[in-house]
Subunit: 415 residues, 2 copies
């Protein structure tokens, strides 16, 4: 049985040590870790082969097997990811604000590490190195709980990374893996509030739901995206077609893909036949309301449930609206507060949409696929937050830090 309390104490010691390191020291260890991953790739591949064998014998589907599989190239990509993180600017210690009070108190708001971060994720061993890199870079210790299917791979990756940081004189406990497949341990981990400052679930909606329900640690929810494109009465229809094609088909399994088209009634006739044509290849199944089916009779009727679905598949729901207000109302009712787009040439309509739609990212004449830490120029991404607390939208390095107030005086007391 995993002793989570002991892991918590070790993480705390790791965090306290990390806090005393300079940015150069942290970056040096990240480069070292990257080198060791490549040098010890065989060891990791051997472990991964065990996971793959078990997966095949359990009849895991091919898509999941592909996510689980490591190759020399994929390990090199993991190492390259760590090098890129090391190369990013350091944000720890940044003075975010500074002010002086009339009584002479000098108050500075300083960016500090989060402390100890917990990450619960599913069977993708590349997340192991990535999550370590982002937390380590920002001075936080991390406790990982990966998917059971990837346990051997994750243990091998963690062993290499820990030994690399230890070579640099740093406690290996800045990175710990819960090597236990008992679900009870995972639930207990979600309550390790005394030691863990932030818990991030990465994976399916079911995983995220379970973390939200069980955790007493503050959580950042990531990743569910029921994203809409609204084609306004004043849209450039060629642009609208291009945007929907990209948002729907460029990569279907991601959270910033478009799942639903909302269309102003006045442009149905001009737009829907064109849309049907461009969504022939790759073939996208259309599910629309009655007014869509007047124009596209072959279209499957959409149910209420369709409008709430994140398909992650070659399926698109369609909804006709009479007004911009109705479009905004529909989107605010069904969306997951992730990414929403209006296509229009009318600046007033655009500004109303951008202001009133409640989502992390609101787009005017841009594909929703840009909701991404790299596309935003953050240089890294730990996930896309769909909650409003702490971080919203793409989360880079700064989004997994905290702050403290440092107050300097000369004996001030409160009157």
């Amino acid at each position: 049985m995993t002793d989570l309390q002991e892991m918590g104490r070790r993480a705390l010691a790791g965090k306290q040590m990390l806090q005393k390191l300079t940015a150069q020291e942290r970056n040096g260890a990240l480069f070292r870790a990257a080198d060791r991953l490549v040098e010890r790739a065989e060891e990791i591949l051997t472990a991964n082969e065990k996971d793959m064998e078990a997966a095949r014998s359990h009849g895991m589907n091919e898509g999941l097997q592909d996510r689980l599989k490591l190759t020399k190239e994929r390990i090199c990509a993991m190492a390259e990811g760590l090098r890129q993180i090391a190369g990013l600017p350091d944000c720890i210690g940044e003075v975010m604000e500074e002010f002086e009070r009339p009584n002479g108190l000098k108050i500075a708001k300083i960016r500090v590490p989060m402390g100890v971060i917990g990450i619960i994720y599913e069977a993708r061993p590349n997340v192991t190195a990535d999550a370590f890199g982002l937390c380590f870079k920002t001075g936080s210790a991390v406790i990982l709980k990966g998917g059971s299917d990837a346990l051997a791979s994750n243990m091998a990756v963690v062993k290499v990374l820990r030994e690399a940081v230890e070579e640099c004189g740093i406690l290996g406990d800045v990175l710990q893996l819960i090597a236990d497949t008992d679900r009870k341990v995972t639930v207990e981990f979600m309550k390790l509030k005394e030691y863990v400052d932030l818990l991030i679930p990465r994976g399916s909606a079911g995983l995220i739901q379970s973390v939200v329900e069980n955790s007493t640690i503050p959580v950042i929810e990531t990743g569910t995206g029921n994203c809409h494109v609204y084609v306004d009465r004043d849209a450039d229809l060629d642009m609208a077609a291009k945007i929907i094609y990209n948002a729907k088909t460029q990569r279907i399994g991601v959270c910033n893909a478009c799942e639903s088209l909302v269309i102003h009634k006045d442009v149905r006739e001009a737009f829907l036949p064109k849309l049907k044509e461009i969504l022939e290849s790759p073939k996208v199944e259309l599910r629309g309301d009655e007014r869509v089916r007047e124009i596209l009779p072959q279209c499957i009727p959409a149910t209420e449930e369709d409008y709430g679905r994140e398909y992650l598949d070659y399926i698109l729901s369609l909804k006709t609206v009479d007004t911009l207000e109705e479009a905004i109302g529909h989107i605010n009712k069904y969306n997951t507060k992730h990414s929403e787009c209006i296509v229009t040439e009318n600046p007033e309509a655009a500004e109303k949409f951008l202001n009133e739609v409640d989502a992390a990212c609101v787009y005017w004449n841009v594909s929703t696929r840009f909701t991404d830490g790299f596309e935003f120029g953050f240089g890294a991404e730990i996930g896309i937050s769909t909650q409003k607390l702490h971080a919203r939208g793409p989360m880079g390095l700064k989004e997994i830090t905290s702050y403290k107030y440092v107050i300097r005086g000369n004996g001030q007391v409160r009157p």
Copy 2:
């Protein structure tokens, strides 16, 4: 039985309406609400008298009765609080960051209302107006759950406030009170995640604990403060005495009061007799370790449990350390990450302490009593956050807002 789903839907409608108002319109409604509180004070006092009668017949202690009691003056103070909030600068719509990507995307990070905020608090009816004011000012609808003992008072205050905003043409549902004393309803409220974006508990450690354990809504924990003052080897001992006297005795029942003194062994002899003398009036009970008791034999022995206590009383624990490192280790072990102070004339020792102690506010030669939204110049305060997510330390208006990314383009798609 309270229909929380229906309250959630109403709050959503309220929030959507609030979002379309200008800052002037919101401030106007706050001034109106302040006026109506004063004009209708009798109505509120009559309701409060009911609560007071019930409290007396239940034998509520005098301290709690005093917190529950309203007077004409206290209602005027509540109104004045609303006017002050109305007079503060508006932060909604603020452009927090703005940048352009190489592909021409213009990305702006804009401050937006949190949405719907839930506040669970104990028997202080003045919090009712205050919480409404802070949320309304920042464009959020609020659902309040106050203490049962104050139910009649809270209902009266909420009625006046709702009618005042309705006079301004705003939906009264921007402010709702759960008028139900069934604990099950409170627990269900903590799970109203579909509608509520943030839940803030204000009150005892027990209340906060219950919210953290039951809520699926993101929570900001407030208010528990086991705050330390560390008297370093290089301290100005007169300053140290003045700071501890202030931090311990100026107001004992507050979270930023000092609960524990950590003292370097080399200054024990010079400092402790002086400390004992100044803490004679008001009389503070001292509980110290063996090395403290060598100097102050009458001092009560401190137990392990003492070092973890937030007394909120005329009691101070004392701990002797050999080094600055030991002081930092002791504080990081026992503190609640609230407010911590070092008294020293040695800048190196100070910087080490400020850097390594993990707390929302770290002080050098300043009383811990300054951890307060007003003392920080925020003009308002909704609580002191002791967690690291979203907001840390004193929370003013900005700390109960969120942000969204607004992305403007001209047809960009992801390659």
